[in-house]
């Protein structure tokens, strides 16, 4: 069975408003899980950037993906993670305090989790903290296995790097069809890798 790329998404330096704009299918529409997202008072910019890349990859296939969202998964890959929230938690700990808002956001898995919450995706979800150059092949292997076995109908494979200039994320929407995945595709996805 062949697994291929159905769509791509890319984003940089995003905030909640960027994700919300990318996730809305049309003017006046609401994101699927607006209530759930409203309950998230804060998420790291890396998480919002990753989620925006996911939303942009989904845009062209939304009508196919959303009806089966219990069988849509995400694998996110980043060796940088939620840099801002982790630094804030580290600083707070050094001062003998903490934050119930920053703590959940400092979870590296929030880069995958935020997209799942935003679109109510209940497929298999993973977060690899391996650098994208070697994390992408591993993530693709697992995504391919989920698709080939029929555990998932669609898988998002997203990467995020956080250089000093701000978060950059790229994403493939994978399915049991689509364009074959070549070395150039893997290199494009391995954002931030030398």
């Amino acid at each position: 069975m062949s697994v291929g790329v159905l769509a791509r998404g890319e984003a940089a330096k995003c905030k909640r408003a960027d994700f919300d704009a990318a996730a809305r299918p049309g003017a006046g529409d609401r994101t699927v899980a607006e209530a759930a997202l409203a309950a998230i008072r804060y998420a790291d910019p890396a998480a919002f950037t990753t989620a925006t890349a996911v939303a942009r990859a989904m845009a062209a296939k939304r009508d196919d993906v959303m009806p089966v969202r219990d069988r849509v998964g995400i694998i996110a890959i980043s060796a940088d993670g939620p840099v801002e929230a982790m630094a804030a938690m580290n600083q707070a700990a050094r001062e003998g305090s903490s934050s119930p808002i920053r703590f959940p956001a400092s979870n590296a898995g929030s880069l995958a989790g935020l997209s799942s919450i935003g679109f109510t995706l209940r497929g298999p979800t993973l977060m690899l903290t391996t650098p994208p150059a070697r994390g992408v092949p591993a993530g693709l292997l697992v995504a391919r296995a989920f698709l080939e076995r029929g555990v998932a109908d669609y898988m998002f494979l997203a990467t995020c790097a956080v250089p000093a200039t701000g978060a950059i994320a790229r994403c493939f929407l994978l399915g049991r069809a689509g364009d074959p995945i070549g070395d150039a595709d893997l290199a494009w996805l391995a954002v931030g890798s030398p």
């Binding site: 934050s99 935020l114 919450i117 391996t130 029929g150």
Partner: protein
């Protein structure tokens, strides 16, 4: 969907607050012992109890984490009859607690895993996983997929995490820390308490294990994952994510729910987790002959990124010994849970299949299904 290929489990090791030998810790679990002690702290916590390991000694969190990982990984290899890591790959899960403590980190998040793999002589850099409290279980899931895909013949996989003031403080402020003690599935459950530890398994293709005439402990038969898609810290009240993860591991293994004899639940002791998990288990197994459900967080504390691997080992030991330890702190099982949970004394088991279930912040749900012939 046809069942996936079984994976041979040929070695395992753990370091826990109750010790580091498989049989010794197992005896202490059956005796319902706990590792909770008052752990000194300089900040205001809801509860001073936590479950530290006796080794490594006090020191910076990153050094303790590395030492725990290296030591446990090497002992898992030895348990598998391997004197060195050879061509085996490494997959390590952690919740990265050490990153939130001490000097601010500028190193990439994979640094711990890379250092551990280098110190044990791995030939290739490791895969690192961070899915909060599901990290250890997800490391095992990734390893299984690598072997099934033919990308690896043998993988050492598991999780490691250390006790940090930052995580204890965060759980205090978040409201998830118990003010008393950890009592999963009890009417008085009021939260979790933090622990630390490491657990590693050596997984191999059945052919690789046979080629070196190694009789496996058992087999990893199925893996399943899902997301709650409900909130960053809040589980889905309907338990859908947890149920999907378990259903997917059953389908992967080609095993019926009625064949499952024991489930090592996440059992964090927070009222929300326990209720959600119980609902998912009831929905999946029905009210009839449900499996025995147990949990080890009252013994070990919640070791966060390590807990999924440690609990997978406990599941295999329950199947091997055909005995399920009582849940520490369980005195009055919550009747609303409607689960078969051993309290005070162990419960005997007659089954060859068991599941280990973990639920993590960010909505990560993971289920590992093991078969151990009796």
């Amino acid at each position: 969907m046809p069942a996936s290929r079984p994976i041979a489990l040929t070695g395992m090791a753990w370091v826990t607050p109750l010790g580091d030998s498989l049989d010794g810790v197992w005896r202490r679990l059956l005796a319902c012992e706990t590792g909770f002690v008052e752990v000194p702290h300089t900040v205001r916590l809801k509860n001073g109890l936590a479950a530290p390991c006796a080794w490594p000694p006090d020191g910076p969190a990153d050094g303790r984490m590395r030492a725990l990982g290296v030591s446990t990984l090497k002992r898992a290899l030895a348990d598998a009859g391997l004197t060195e890591i050879g061509d085996a790959d490494v997959v390590i899960g952690t919740s990265l607690g050490a990153f939130l403590e001490g000097e601010p980190e500028s190193a990439p998040l994979n640094r711990y895993a890379d250092t551990i793999a280098e110190e044990v002589g791995a030939k290739r850099p490791p895969i690192s996983v961070s899915t909060a409290c599901s990290s250890g279980a997800d490391a095992i899931l990734v390893a299984a997929e690598m072997i099934r895909a033919g990308a690896a013949e043998r993988v050492v996989c598991g999780g490691v995490d250390v006790l940090t003031t930052s995580k204890r403080l965060a759980h205090s402020i978040l409201g998830t820390m118990s003010a008393t003690t950890l009592r999963a599935f009890d009417v008085r459950h009021d939260g979790t308490l933090i622990g630390e530890g490491a657990g590693f398994m050596v997984l191999e293709s059945v052919e690789a294990a046979a080629a070196r005439a190694r009789t496996p402990f058992g087999h990893l038969r199925g893996v399943g994952a899902a997301n709650d898609a409900a909130g960053m810290t809040t589980p889905d009240a309907a338990g859908l994510g947890a149920r999907y993860a378990m259903e997917r591991s059953l389908a992967d293994a080609g095993v019926a729910p009625s064949e499952i004899g024991v489930v090592n639940a996440h059992g964090s002791g927070t009222p929300l987790n326990d209720a959600t998990e119980a609902l998912a288990l009831r929905d999946l197994f029905g009210a009839g002959a449900s499996p025995i459900v147990f949990g080890t967080k009252g013994n070990f504390g919640h070791s966060l990124g390590a807990t999924g691997a440690i609990e997978a080992i406990a599941t295999v030991l329950a199947l091997r010994n055909q005995n399920v330890p009582p849940v520490y702190g369980l005195e009055q099982p919550d009747p609303a849970m409607k689960l078969t949970v051993p309290a005070r004394v162990p419960m005997s088991l007659r089954a060859r299949y068991g599941m280990s279930v973990t639920l993590g912040f960010g909505g990560f749900d993971t289920s590992l299904l093991f078969e151990v012939p009796s």
